[in-house]
């Protein structure tokens, strides 16, 4: 169907199909972010530190609004440490104070010690704004694909390439 590309309108329309697939996926993600008030409303568990609750590869859904009650001790939360990009899924075990000034301590169910070791240098506790959401639902194992993709980056390039080619070449 490459000859279709000779007509500029048709080429533009086919390119648009590809663009709309990408942008719709992105905007759905952003819509979910806005609703859950979380920069990353869906995360994949990367470590076994919360076993047996969550395994590597589980997909978690997060909620980051405190409409009716505060984030409580016992909730499983996802937080970002300053200077580190990887979100961590651990349980909230201690909390002093309320609201934005509360001092929060977390620990992985499968870890021996609490998370003070994992926090940034000089940081002894988390604040509410470090948390990007509490876990409200999960799907086991389906996130394993993304672990595969991040551990073998060349797979990403291959997959994107194939997807792009298929969408551009077919008109159905």
């Amino acid at each position: 169907m490459l000859s279709a590309l000779q007509n500029p309108r048709q080429a533009a329309a086919q390119l648009l199909n590809f663009g709309l697939i990408l942008s719709t996926a992105f905007m759905m993600w952003k819509g979910l972010s806005v609703i859950a008030d979380s920069p990353s409303p869906i995360v994949v568990v990367l470590s076994g530190s919360m076993e047996p609750a969550f395994q590597r590869g589980d997909l978690l859904f997060l909620w980051n609004r405190n409409f009716f009650e505060e984030t409580k001790v016992g909730e499983i939360v996802v937080y970002n440490v300053k200077g580190k990009d990887i979100p961590i899924v651990h349980r909230l075990v201690r909390k002093f104070g309320t609201g934005d000034e509360a001092k929060i301590l977390t620990k992985g169910d499968n870890n021996l010690a609490d998370d003070t070791e994992l926090y940034a240098r000089g940081q002894d506790y988390l604040e509410r704004k470090d948390i990007i959401g509490s876990v409200v639902g999960y799907i086991p194992f389906v996130g394993y694909v993304t672990i595969m993709l991040s551990e073998h980056p060349w797979l990403k390039t291959v997959m994107l390439g194939i997807m792009g080619l298929v969408v551009v070449l077919q008109r159905e």
């Binding site: 329309a13 806005v34 159905e172």
Partner: protein
């Protein structure tokens, strides 16, 4: 007459339809119709502005982070779904499969929409005319793709254009040489299936399942038959 260089898979309804759709503007433009791209351009404008919003959203999210820009992001999401909804509405309710809109010197506006059903190799063409005074008329053509595609998947331009010229009076008037006279049907006494060739059996099966008259199918066969005849003539 010309045969397309492009070869498609004759088993793909989408390929058959798209290739035929592409041949319509070529033909009608050659008859002095001036094509209007209004529908396509509106669709492209809606689609690309939605895409532009998404790109802008991606940029500010990447540059300034989620928390600093979340109200802009919420607005962008709302606007994007609005534009995308408008685009879907446009394709579904306004375009309705329209492949060609054109006006000729006499001010006659012609609008051609096509569609196919899944797994049925029948081309449904819906032609709408609006005359200068605003009088509209509409006619539907339903023909099997076998009339203008050969076995190998080449589009034969002559039978395709003849199909339009003979069925649509305004096109026929613009291109009288391609109008085929309707042949008087001679009532045959069917002796039995033994006399039918395999092709004829297939044709009657297709006619039965798709609701197209048998004459259309046999008409297609004579058209391809004549092409074969020419080839043989060259060899001899």
């Amino acid at each position: 007459m010309a045969v397309s260089a492009e070869k498609i898979s004759v088993y793909s309804i989408a390929d058959l339809k798209n290739t035929s759709d592409d041949a319509i503007p070529h033909y009608l433009n050659s008859l002095g119709f001036k094509q209007s791209h209004l529908l396509t351009d509106t669709r492209l404008a809606l689609g690309y502005s939605a895409f532009a919003i998404c790109a802008a959203c991606f940029y500010w999210d990447y540059q300034f982070g989620f928390d600093n820009t979340k109200y802009y992001t919420a607005a962008a999401v709302a606007l994007y779904s609005l534009l995308n909804g408008a685009l879907t509405f446009w394709i579904w309710a306004v375009e309705k499969g329209t492949v060609y809109i054109g006006t000729n010197k006499n001010g006659v506006k012609i609008q051609v929409a096509t569609k196919t059903e899944k797994f049925k190799p029948i081309y449904n063409v819906d032609v709408k005319f609006t005359e200068k005074g605003g009088k509209t008329s509409e006619l539907k053509i339903k023909k099997p793709f076998t009339q203008w595609f050969d076995k190998k998947g080449h589009l034969h331009v002559l039978p395709f254009q003849q199909m339009f010229a003979s069925n649509v009076p305004a096109i026929g008037a613009a291109d009288p040489t391609k109008v085929l006279e309707v042949k008087k049907k001679v009532v045959r006494v069917e002796v039995g299936d033994e006399n039918k060739t395999m092709d004829e059996k297939w044709a009657s099966l297709l006619a039965e399942s798709s609701g197209v008259s048998l004459d259309d199918l046999s008409g297609g066969k004579t058209a391809t038959g004549s092409v074969k005849g020419k080839k043989r003539g060259k060899k001899a």
